[in-house]
């Protein structure tokens, strides 16, 4: 089973070092394809776009998700139930429906597709994950913490900033990393909301994979995998430390 899971990825990685252009026979070791990735201007441009989009998406998702989680956790108000359901919609909704619905929205209000529309789309499917992560952490938080801060004379806003936010930091960080990875990887929704100038790295990979095989694409994939795995391992580590923190008596 593990062979089925890892096999294709290992093959992909091994052949990224092969001197032969066709993938069949092993002819020798080379780093030439990695050099080609580096020298490929459209690819590097797309990588830059992806990084910028993912960074802005992460910041906005954290702000929106954390504030939203606190609001839904702490206050009862009319429409809270509806808001909670709505937060779940982008998580569950099939990506293609989300993509085309955003496309028709931007068309209807005559906003040209580009960098901003990609960021809006990414925030829409990323921030619910931050919100859910923070909400889970809030549920395990002792309400006495905030009460103590208020009793000691802090204003609710100061109590939130000085007491609650530090307690939430592991969940916020984990949510942020998740948002970043999701944004870096996403293809379908991006496909409908990006212009050719604002193409992200996965969109370029999609275009290249359609054309056919190229060892350069293997090399690019390997770099992408290594980066993703690094982010995931960091997230894992943080979640573990946050779990041990919350289980402390």
């Amino acid at each position: 089973m593990l062979a089925f899971l890892w096999g294709p990825i290992v093959v992909l990685a091994v052949y990224s070092f092969n001197t032969s252009r066709l993938n069949i026979l092993w002819e020798g070791f080379t780093l030439r394809w990695y050099g080609e990735v580096w020298d490929n201007a459209p690819l590097m441009e797309a990588a830059r776009t992806s990084l910028i989009v993912a960074t802005i998406t992460t910041v906005l998702s954290v702000l929106l998700g954390t504030a939203g989680a606190w609001l839904l956790h702490r206050y009862r108000f009319r429409g809270a139930g509806a808001l909670r359901t709505l937060v779940g919609v982008p998580v569950m909704m099939p990506e293609i429906v989300m993509g085309v619905s955003l496309l028709v929205l931007f068309a209807a209000v005559a906003v040209p597709l580009g960098f901003a529309t990609v960021v809006i789309a990414h925030v829409t499917f990323c921030f619910p994950f931050v919100l859910l992560a923070v909400q889970a952490r809030l549920a395990g938080l002792d309400p006495a913490l905030e009460e103590a801060a208020l009793d000691l004379g802090a204003t609710p806003l100061r109590a939130f900033w000085l007491v609650i936010v530090p307690c939430l930091r592991p969940a916020i960080t984990a949510g942020a990393l998740l948002a970043f990875t999701l944004s870096m990887d996403e293809v379908i929704v991006t496909y409908f909301t990006a212009s050719p100038e604002a193409a992200t790295l996965p969109l370029r990979i999609f275009g290249l994979a359609k054309v056919g095989l190229s060892p350069m694409l293997n090399a690019l994939s390997v770099l992408f995998i290594v980066a993703t795995v690094a982010v995931v391992l960091i997230t894992e580590r943080l979640q573990k430390s946050s779990r041990s923190l919350s289980s402390r008596p």
């Binding site: 982008p90 099939p94 619905s101 929205l105 994979a209 995931v232």
Partner: protein
């Protein structure tokens, strides 16, 4: 319209501007980018397009009538069939893996979980490309078979229905493994022992004890594989070529492809959404019935 924000009982209230500071962005974002797009899509689905491909707002059911044309019905049927096949294969492959992971000792359990999950944290696009390099007529598998003289000419492996289902299975397998693992992990081993003590064979205790108790995880996995597999167009695009269009390919073609019929695409998307909502609703109702 004002939404009165009341604090939960026994706790202090935030000052009014702060409340709005918290509430407004969330509500505005969800309404503007989740509710509004869905409504516009719905309106589009009842509209027409003019000769230039622009959308003209009229009220027509023609788009929906067209969706029930045999051509598109067969696409819907194929999409559902592929998704069902993908779900079934995923369930059969994932169940034993999830079960073994749940039975492993704790330190090994985490390591196995990570080993299973890492391949799937990498973009599905790259994983699909990995299969293309293997299956293509000048790819690895054909190369190996030719080299060993097992075959005389390259086999057509890519751009077949089998390739599409393989790609879908490979993409969605973790969504099946994780929920099954989640419910298998919670299973009390004493229950299986009890079944043994009461004279159940391994097969009987699986069918009567293990399967019913892990069914919620299995149901969640089915839900998480089946629905996205229906609409996925990138995998059928890459591994099926244009030969096996799924509903996602048809929708995509109406919006950004050559067909350029947004109202019709919107109608297809709305129908797809209805299928999704129905499956989700049935699933939730069954889950609730089980709890009650």
């Amino acid at each position: 319209m004002t939404i009165p924000v009341q604090p939960t009982q026994g706790s202090a209230q935030l000052p009014r501007p702060a409340r709005w500071f918290l509430l407004a962005p969330l509500a505005v974002w969800l309404v503007a980018f989740v509710v509004a797009p869905a409504l516009i899509l719905l309106v589009y689905s009842f509209s027409e397009r003019d000769e230039l491909g622009r959308v003209v707002f009229t009220f027509t059911l023609e788009n929906y009538a067209r969706a029930f044309d045999p051509v598109y019905l067969s696409v819907f049927g194929r999409s559902l069939g592929y998704a069902a096949a993908t779900t079934a294969i995923c369930a059969v492959l994932a169940y034993p893996v999830a079960w073994c992971m749940a039975q492993a000792r704790p330190p090994w359990r985490d390591r196995l979980l990570l080993l299973v999950m890492i391949p799937f944290w990498t973009s599905f696009l790259i994983r699909t490309y990995a299969w293309i390099t293997i299956l293509k007529s000048e790819g690895l598998l054909n190369g190996l078979l030719l080299y060993t003289h097992t075959i005389a000419a390259p086999l057509e492996l890519l751009y077949t229905p089998g390739a599409v289902v393989l790609g879908l299975v490979y993409a969605y397998l973790p969504f099946m493994i994780l929920p099954i693992y989640g419910s298998a992990e919670k299973l009390d081993p004493a229950l299986i022992e009890a079944a043994h003590d009461l004279g159940c064979g391994p097969w009987q205790s699986f069918a009567r004890v293990v399967l019913p108790l892990t069914r919620p995880g299995l149901a969640a996995g089915v839900m998480m594989v089946f629905v996205p597999a229906i609409g996925m167009f990138a995998i059928s695009d890459l591994m099926g070529g244009a030969r096996v269009p799924l509903i996602g390919n048809v929708i995509q073609d109406q919006f950004v492809g050559q067909a350029r019929d947004k109202p019709f695409g919107a109608a297809l998307a709305v129908i797809f959404m209805l299928i999704f909502v129905t499956v989700y609703w049935l699933w939730q109702r069954r889950a609730e019935a089980r709890v009650a």
